[in-house]
Point group: C2
Chain length 434, copies 2
């Protein structure tokens, strides 16, 4: 097969066959297909797209590129949740132990934060000692024993995705719905899960800023998952403002602890329960969301979810004492209050701008090589729909870098829009697609 | 500047500024910008295009990437002709000495054949001893002394084009009108010419198969040339069947010798004279094509053009004895006649298929690393508009490889369409654009 002809075919709007994609993926992994041909092909995919069938084919071939975890000997349904990412999205840290407490097995493979979006692994690693790298054996054992494990992508699972994603990231070819679909689903399929709930964020802080794009991605994922025999549902949820109040790794862990003590912010908990209900539905066929939510609330209220969280942290080497006595955690050296200059209602708390402010403060990454300061971030005290008076604290900025505070505060100031008319709390769970 | 943002900008349909293109070209040449980012950018250009202003900017910046020849101290107008390539296109070998005989300076920088199209350098190199690499000093001296020199692209002139072209060739991004424009014009501008006549081929054997595409390329070249202060005109000429009768390097030199003895085939000479008239027009403002053609015909008839050709060959180390006594040249070991199976008229002599047959016979390249057999090729005895009888020879195949003859003959058979209705000789010079 001639790679040039395949690039040409895709460039001219054709579909590559399974044999052709297999050739591309295998020869790229072996190093025979050079990066520059792969990046040209990826840009051609960006423009020409892929139909659902081709996306499903590519997904299957990417799965073939590495090992597949086999969790079939573990009793119970293995269900994962995956979010397309946003600001303040700490849902996984609450939902994974909660669902394990409900008896579902949650083998969760997560990512790191990049640009304005946070990442589950960074949040977990802000807990001293927490290991996000487990061997396949340890991962398997922990899911069997505790019901939940949260780790990073292994080199052995879908190595094609790792190599292709790095190239996409370096060639402005990330924003392609079929490539996003294949990347997400290949990893979930290789992880051996029985079902998947997708949380597709939309709004200014999300990768898919417009609802229309979010729906397209949802459709692409649902159809591709079906074609690869992975039962999947998708929720589209709001990411116009940060989810919950905290954005920044350890600050979000603190909010997770509150949530597991039944004191989580409303918008955050709505998303947790909505996703949890869908996970229960996939695992057990339970399809009464109200009933499901009640059951999950009980598991939070009676401490079962918190126990599971602590068990998981302990199993993965994390320091649970600091979670029980969070005051001992070294906070950032500097805290600055952002106060309202006027009376009115909050109409906007722009997630993208707040995300950038978190990065500036040291809580996020500009490039994959940056290190993250776990203590840096922002805690919002006002969100959309809240009434404020002049002088009220809108947010608290946490950082160890003095030289960035005024710049971050400027971003934060521009993120808030306060007007004289009353505003409403926005909906968080926007749409369910199955 | 961040290359990712520039790829993104082009991907999203924006125009890069001069500073941005300069950054791209310089950092690609220095090796800082990796091939894979450049190829992603080139594919984005393929899809998003470039307006004339951006194409002109890129062209100027590519010129800056290397040395510029300075021919200003040589008296007289320095005019070049460039063809987009086809099958049997030996025009340069006739036209360059002819125009030098007419007093114009012709500093011609040519290319090699690839795929089904032939290349001027390969044709010249079929003359024993002919050197297509001259130093800038030798080149300059020869144009001063004889008025004409024909060489290959030097590494020092527009090195950006050399590097980018190789990448385009390996990533299916050749067929982009703005990139073709910048590639051609940057080299002509750097070569220090005062004017350029473009021969843009259209038809099944041309890069631009449809007239509409050929016109687009012509417009792009004309506007970009104007913006870079290079007076340029473009002719669109036919490439549905081979130009002249011979296709294959030495076989074409033989036809060139005939043409210089005033025995050239009609279609070929029409293109030679039409292009020559435009070169005279650029050089001298003469704008009576009939008058120009008469003058050029006289230079052929009285042997001045042939003398100039022989002078040039001698100056570049070529064996002129073999040109005077062509029967001594070692012909290909095998000749095979392709005969008509029916009575009628030739309606098609498909240039692309004939070009492939030439490659099969050893007369062309599949990849840039292939070597070319100078003796291999095809001589047509019938072309479109000719009447044929069953048993007439349509073409003679020349090759040193016995194992390919039947396959090449099959291609040749499929290239000819002979029908009972009378056919007409097609026009060769289709359109003039200024």
């Amino acid at each position: 097969m001639n790679p040039l002809r395949l690039i040409e075919k895709k460039r001219d709007g054709g579909s590559l066959s399974a044999a052709e994609w297999r050739f591309i993926i295998q020869s790229y992994l072996s190093g025979q297909l050079p990066h520059y041909q792969m990046s040209a092909l990826l840009m051609a995919v960006y423009f020409s797209g892929m139909d659902y069938e081709e996306t499903a084919t590519l997904t299957g071939i990417m799965v073939e590129s590495g090992e597949r975890l086999d969790l079939r000997d573990i009793a119970g349904a293995k269900i994962d949740k995956h979010s397309t990412g946003g600001v303040g999205d700490k849902v996984s840290l609450i939902l994974a132990p909660l669902m394990a407490a409900a008896g579902i097995r949650v083998p969760m493979i997560s990512g790191r934060g990049l640009a304005h979006t946070g990442g589950t692994l960074d949040k977990l690693e802000s807990i001293p000692g927490f290991r996000t790298r487990l061997t396949p054996k340890e991962f398997h054992q922990q899911i069997n024993d505790i019901g939940v494990a949260m780790i990073g992508q292994s080199d052995r699972i879908v190595p094609a995705d790792k190599k292709i994603y790095a190239l996409r990231d370096a060639t402005s070819t990330v924003a392609s719905i079929p490539l996003i679909t294949a990347s997400i689903l290949s990893k979930k399929i290789a992880a051996g899960v029985d079902g998947l709930v997708m949380d597709i964020k939309t709004g200014c802080g999300a990768f898919m800023a417009r609802m229309e794009q979010a729906e397209k991605l949802a459709q692409s994922i649902l159809r591709t998952a079906v074609a690869n025999a992975l039962p999947t549902v998708a929720l589209i949820t709001a990411m116009d403002q940060p989810l919950g109040n905290a954005a920044g790794n350890w600050l979000e862990v603190l909010e997770v602890l509150q949530a597991l003590q039944n004191r989580g912010p409303d918008d955050l908990m709505k998303v947790v329960y909505a996703l949890g209900a869908q996970m229960l539905h996939l695992a057990e066929g339970v399809s009464q969301p109200q009933q499901a939510q009640k059951r999950l609330q009980t598991l939070i209220r009676d401490g079962a979810a918190m126990d599971k969280f602590l068990q998981m942290v302990a199993a993965q080497g994390g320091d649970t004492r600091i979670l029980r006595d969070a005051g001992k955690y070294p906070m950032a050296k500097f805290q600055q209050h952002l106060r309202s200059h006027q009376n009115g209602w909050v109409h906007e708390a722009h997630a993208l701008k707040i995300g950038y402010a978190v990065v500036l403060l040291g809580g996020g990454r500009r490039t994959m090589n940056d290190t993250v300061d776990p203590a840096a971030g922002i805690v919002l005290q006002k969100k959309i729909g809240d009434q404020v008076e002049k002088g009220d604290i809108l947010a608290v900025l946490h950082t160890n870098r003095t030289n960035v505070i005024s710049e971050a505060a400027r971003w934060m100031r521009s993120a808030f829009r306060i007007g004289p008319e009353q505003s409403e709390k926005p909906r968080t769970v926007l749409k369910l697609l199955t």
